[in-house]
Symmetry: C2
Subunit: 193 residues, 2 copies
DNA sequence: GCGATACTTTGTCGATCGTTCCAGATAGCC
DNA sequence: GGCTATCTGGAACGATCGACAAAGTATCGC
């Protein structure tokens, strides 16, 4: 054996994620990524193979760190309306939270990369699908319990909720007004009544 | 006087719009734009000043050609539910219409350019605002007539509807399934009931 | 402590970026 | 029909792009 990798891969991917969220895929150069991660380009290529490779790693980390906890929350067995509201509030917080203007990686990837890179498209589909599925299961059970009206299909409702979340990301990029976004989210939630 | 401009500016901007929608702002090179418009780079710079200038012209054309007609439709005096449904159906058609995979310029600009170029951000805000306003006026009148429940603010409903439209664009980029998007749109429209 | 190993850094590669400039082409005015 | 002003297309600019190879350096097993 020999020398071990010195830098923290997760920290580097996190820094790269920030860079990509700020400037998009094409707008972020390898130089930007070097500065953001504090690594030489050689190290980046050794660890991730290419700019695309690093971007895919960023997507995977995003899913693991942000999407998965939401799915877990939805499957935690709490009251459906309450936990869904929590997810929406969390999304609005995330959008307007810090003033760093970090766009949503998922929405950005959908617009900029999904048509160019099949592996990106696949990850996006998988991420939204797992979110939709968790929502579907939660809603279907709530409907069975009579907590939510059964006259609309649980999968349609789930898809609509994900659509609304994506829409909030876009609206937040145009006008990051927390109070406004919260009111829009409230309207979306009334579809469950 | 002397020689007059030969090419059709509108046609050139339209071709550039297609290019930008397909590959995004950073992903589209001047070479791409030259090929798309059929113009030499000299002509492009003479007419638009820069790549940014051409992009702004594209945004303005988009607003004039796609956003303005929607606003007109909303203000045409037709039944509120009916005309709003028409807008949503039109949006789904636009998203899934041709197989050319043209992303929404507005959503793309929001993600990629709004933070970088203030003039882009301003145009985006203005475009969504005029859409929200038209929806608000339509809904407020429908509420006054008793056609729509008055217990939710017309401006919140309007903002929510725009949010849903943006969300549909994103979802369409991830999975351009017309039937699916239509069902999600249907759920959104139930918020008016 | 030494050799072997593999990570990090640096410098540089050809290609391509957005932009500019120039020579040739073309249309209006006398 | 010549003159001139303007548009056109393409060549060329420096800068920067993503990618890579080689040199330097630190860590491991022995």
């Amino acid at each position: 054996m020999a020398r071990t990798r010195e830098f923290d891969v997760d920290a580097a991917v996190t820094a790269a994620m920030d860079a990509f969220r700020r400037k998009g895929y094409e707008g972020t150069s390898m130089r930007d990524l070097s500065e953001a991660t504090g690594l030489g380009s050689g190290s980046i290529y050794a660890a991730f193979g290419s700019k695309d490779g690093l971007y895919l790693a960023v997507l995977d980390l995003y899913r693991q760190r942000y999407a998965a906890p939401i799915v877990d929350l939805l499957r935690s067995g709490s009251d459906a309306r309450e936990v869904i509201r929590e997810v929406f509030v969390g999304a609005v917080d995330d959008i307007t939270g810090d003033g760093r203007h970090l766009a949503c990686l998922i929405v950005g990837a959908s617009m900029e990369r999904a048509q160019q890179d099949l592996r990106v498209a696949e990850r996006l589909r998988s991420t939204t699908q797992s979110l939709e599925l968790a929502l579907h299961d939660l809603l279907a059970e709530a409907q069975a319990r009579g907590q939510i009206k059964p006259d609309r299909s649980a999968s349609d409702l789930a898809g609509f909720l994900v659509t609304s979340l994506q829409g909030l990301r876009v609206m937040g990029a145009i006008n990051p007004d927390r109070a406004l976004l919260t009111r829009y989210a409230e309207v979306a939630l009334t579809c469950l009544d």
